[in-house]
């Protein structure tokens, strides 16, 4: 079985993001980028499946600028077999991404697609779900455990208030949650090998997908600064304030 893993190049989680002066987005020049952490978990899971003999080939796909090659190489260094970059300098929305991945999934006859549950830059949490819908495949989102058995994927999902286990007929889409695994460190020999693994670059037009944005960003601004707290005299005042000012109880 072939496993597809989608990886996104995002502003590194350690970077304190700043809004651009003109309010059109966040500052990305000279900022450190790395692989979306949920996608790292997805790559790790695919590599484990391969190591366990349950998957034969891992294809990683990224949609983004030329620099996203670095992100793909990072996935190759973790153990993926080959990479496809759908190159675009435009910002792509979840629907466009899902369509592009769906096109690759069909072309490559993928048996299982693993995606991060969301990307830490826009936090959309939509691509996996849209991909499943477009392909007509079952989906197991927020996976904290994944087991493959006889043509099915058994996915333990993190839901409000507990865990839910679903059994999906393959091919299927799985999106990863934090507890699914701890991604490995890429080894030095594998980083060197990754340089030689195949990396194909293609474009949305080649896949016949329209990636024109459906949404317009009006303005991006910093969240309001937190105001200083106040000290209250006693519990009664606190309750009163919570009821009448904050209106939370």
């Amino acid at each position: 079985m072939k496993v597809l893993v989608a990886v996104k190049r995002v502003v590194d989680y350690n970077v304190k993001v700043r809004v651009k002066a003109d309010g059109s987005g966040v500052e990305t020049t000279n900022v450190k980028f790395s692989m979306n952490p949920f996608d790292e978990i997805a790559v790790e899971e695919a590599v484990r499946l391969k190591e366990a003999g349950k998957a034969q080939e891992i294809v990683v796909v990224s949609i983004g600028p030329a620099q996203a090659q670095e992100t793909l190489r990072a996935a190759l260094a973790m153990g993926a077999d080959r990479a496809i970059l759908i190159q675009t300098d435009e910002a792509v929305e979840p629907l466009a991404v899902a369509k592009l991945i769906a096109a690759i999934a069909k072309r490559e006859e993928i048996g299982l697609a693993i995606l991060g549950k969301q990307a830490i830059d826009d936090d959309s949490n939509q691509t996996g779900q849209m991909l499943a819908a477009l392909l007509g495949w079952p989906q197991g989102t927020f996976a904290s455990k994944l087991a493959l058995e006889e043509g099915r994927a058994v996915v333990t999902r993190e839901i409000d208030g507990g865990l839910e286990t679903v059994s999906l007929a393959l091919p299927a889409v799985v999106t990863t949650d934090l507890r699914l695994n701890t991604p490995r460190y890429a080894s030095l020999p594998n980083i060197m090998k990754a340089k030689k693994k195949p990396l194909e670059t293609t474009f949305a037009v080649d896949l016949d997908v329209d990636i024109a944005p459906r949404l317009v960003t009006l303005k991006v601004e910093e969240p309001p600064k937190r105001k200083a707290g106040v000290k209250v005299a006693d519990a009664a005042t606190l309750v009163d304030k919570l009821k009448n000012e904050a209106k939370v109880i």
Binding site: N30, S34, Y185, L188, M192, A194
Partner: protein, 596 residues
């Protein structure tokens, strides 16, 4: 406030912008070594250092190593961390691909070594010594020894040590008493006691391979009668697995000031089976291959601690609120200004930063020369690179480790009383940094090596490998007003270095003691000029990048400002050093011994 993020941006600056590391791939054998490889390698190394090694630094210091019945246990977490480290291939960074190594250029290894030392110096010593051992084995060992030991050492399942020191024999290795007697089968029986052996015994690898200095029965006295032997803890079976225990055991571990998670061992050799490495009585030559490598690496220990201490100090100085800026409150909404506003705190922070960034640039330059020496097919370039490495080795060792200690000390001072408290992690850097000035040849002995051996060697040829490029740089930049802020002070200091060199050559010939008396000051003077040259070059690169409008103005402006601080506030020390050197050593040499 211990915190560590690998300074990757500055490392890339040094690697690509200052030293043109991208050009390495034009050297024979390094064709695959390109920035597309270096970048992910450095990033992954940073991750391992920040996430695996750094979190064990303080706990390792608190717990230390435990010794019981000849067995050494490393602190909690070290076994797992070593496994991650080894499986990641980090034990084999520069090793020859023929033995399973990665063949990564030394200039990149210099940067990775710095990260390891910043993150956890004690941990770094275990795999660190193995790298030196491999170099000695490759250079001098028989094919049979190489085939048997190299793959395991490179892979990190076995580790190496270097056993020189004995109770009565430290700097003066000619006093070595450990002896080796030939057996009929070509092996030797080695007996004696070695002390202070780093990583001499531990629980991280399945076998430990000791490289031991000892005397053969027919050895001439003194340093000319020393041979190098390989002594495995477990004798390898024919299939390469560790077999019977050899006659070497750990008698004790030392209780010491710092690097507490590194086991410093007394090793007793009792008719241990040993193999000769290299020729009889030529052990010092073989050992020097290992030692030169180690001396550069020890220098990087100083750099690593300078960097991590700086990071901790800056983080604290931004947050600690005490007093008001002398020019009026900078943060009127706060009860006081953060201490980072005070000039005296800035003096310390900038001293620390200038030391770390300057040493990083200089260390990488030497690292690059190691690569050129190893790979170029141009005999002249090879000779020059070798001369340069020989000249700079004692400087890197002593200058960087002195700065490591001075900087760590500043780090404590920036944090005031909190710097002195163990929980905050800053005093550990002072204790850990201290040993680097002592082992691998004390810094005093490095200075003697510079003055006594390196200056005069080949009629001053070593010296030219540094003096020529600096003189050429100064001359060709003399009409560049934008750069004169950096080149003028460099020129002044360089003239002092040239004069002091002439003076030492002159009086040292007549009275060697005079050269010995000037050695430490001279090494520091030399080191400061080498740093100044790097700072002037960094300034030149930064000015150019600002012109190119790369969008990283903050980075390059900070570089220029740090360089200006170095020129204004650090480099003038060369004036005082120069005066000391020129005053001569009679006050020391003639002081009556009885009066001490």
């Amino acid at each position: 406030m211990a915190t560590y993020k690998a300074p990757l941006r500055d490392m890339r600056f040094v690697l690509y912008e200052l030293h043109d590391g991208a050009a390495l791939s034009s050297l024979p054998g390094l064709e695959d070594m390109t920035p597309e490889l270096f970048d992910p390698v450095l990033e992954e190394a940073a991750k391992v250092c920040e996430e695996v090694l750094f979190p064990l630094n303080r706990s390792g210091d608190e717990e230390g190593c435990q010794f019981e019945n000849g067995v050494v246990r490393t602190p909690k977490g070290f076994i797992e961390a070593y496994k991650t480290f080894r499986e990641g291939g980090w034990t084999s960074i520069t090793a020859d691909p023929a033995y399973g190594g990665q063949g990564i250029p030394n200039i990149v290894n210099v940067l990775i070594t710095e990260m390891i030392c910043s993150a956890n110096l004690s941990f770094g010593l275990y795999p660190g010594l193995t790298q030196g051992a491999c170099k000695a084995l490759v250079a001098h060992g028989s094919d049979e020894l190489k085939e048997r030991y190299m793959p395991k050492l490179v892979e990190g399942t076995w580790s190496g040590t270097m056993c020189l020191t004995e109770p009565h024999c430290g700097t003066d290795l000619g006093l070595c008493r450990t002896k080796a007697v030939p057996n009929d089968d070509g092996t030797y029986r080695l007996s004696g006691t070695k002390i202070f052996i780093s990583a001499g015994e531990h629980d991280l690898t399945e076998n430990i391979i000791h490289f031991v200095l000892a005397r053969l029965p027919d050895a001439p006295p003194g340093i000319k009668g020393i041979s190098l032997f390989l002594v495995p803890k477990f004798l390898p079976n024919a299939d390469g697995t560790p077999g019977k225990r050899n006659g070497v055991s750990c008698g004790a571990i030392e209780h010491k000031m710092g690097i507490k998670a590194s086991a410093t061992c007394v090793l007793n050799f009792d008719e241990a089976t040993a193999w000769l490495v290299g020729s009889p009585h030529k052990g010092m030559r073989s050992m020097f291959t290992m030692m030169n490598e180690e001396r550069l690496a020890v220098g990087l220990q100083g750099l690593g601690l300078a960097e991590v201490s700086y990071q901790g100090a800056v983080a604290y100085a931004r947050e600690r609120l005490q007093g008001r800026s002398l020019s009026g409150a900078k943060y009127p909404d706060k009860p006081a200004d953060p201490i980072i506003v005070h000039p005296d705190v800035r003096r310390m922070l900038l001293s620390m930063r200038a030391a770390a960034e300057g040493c990083r640039a200089l260390g990488a330059w030497v690292g690059q020369a190691v690569d050129i020496a190893a790979h170029t097919d141009d005999p002249k370039a090879k000779q020059e690179a070798e001369d340069f490495v020989a000249l700079m080795t004692p400087i890197v060792k002593a200058l960087f480790t002195d700065y490591g200690f001075e900087t760590a000390n500043h780090g404590v001072q920036v944090m005031g009383g909190h710097g002195y408290i163990r929980e905050h992690g800053m005093e550990q850097y002072v204790r850990d940094a201290r040993i680097a000035q002592v082992y691998e040849g004390t810094n005093g002995v490095q200075a003697l090596d510079l003055v006594g051996r390196k200056l005069g060697a080949h009629m001053g040829r070593n010296l030219r490998s540094f003096f020529h490029p600096v003189a050429e740089f100064i001359q060709s930049r003399s009409d560049n007003p934008a750069l004169s802020r950096y080149v003028d002070p460099l020129t002044k200091a360089f003239v002092r270095l040239q004069q002091a060199t002439g003076q030492i050559a002159k009086v040292g010939l007549k009275r060697p003691e005079e050269a010995g008396a000037a050695a430490t000051e001279y090494l520091r003077l030399f080191g400061l000029v080498a740093l100044a040259y790097q700072w002037a070059r960094m300034a030149e690169v930064s000015l150019k990048k600002l012109e190119e409008k790369t969008g990283e103005d903050d980075f390059y402006r900070a570089k220029l400002a740090t360089g200006a601080f170095f020129m204004d506030r650090v480099l003038p020390q060369t004036g005082a050093l120069f005066s000391s050197i020129m005053a001569g050593g009679s006050t020391m040499i003639e002081f009556p011994e009885a009066a001490f």
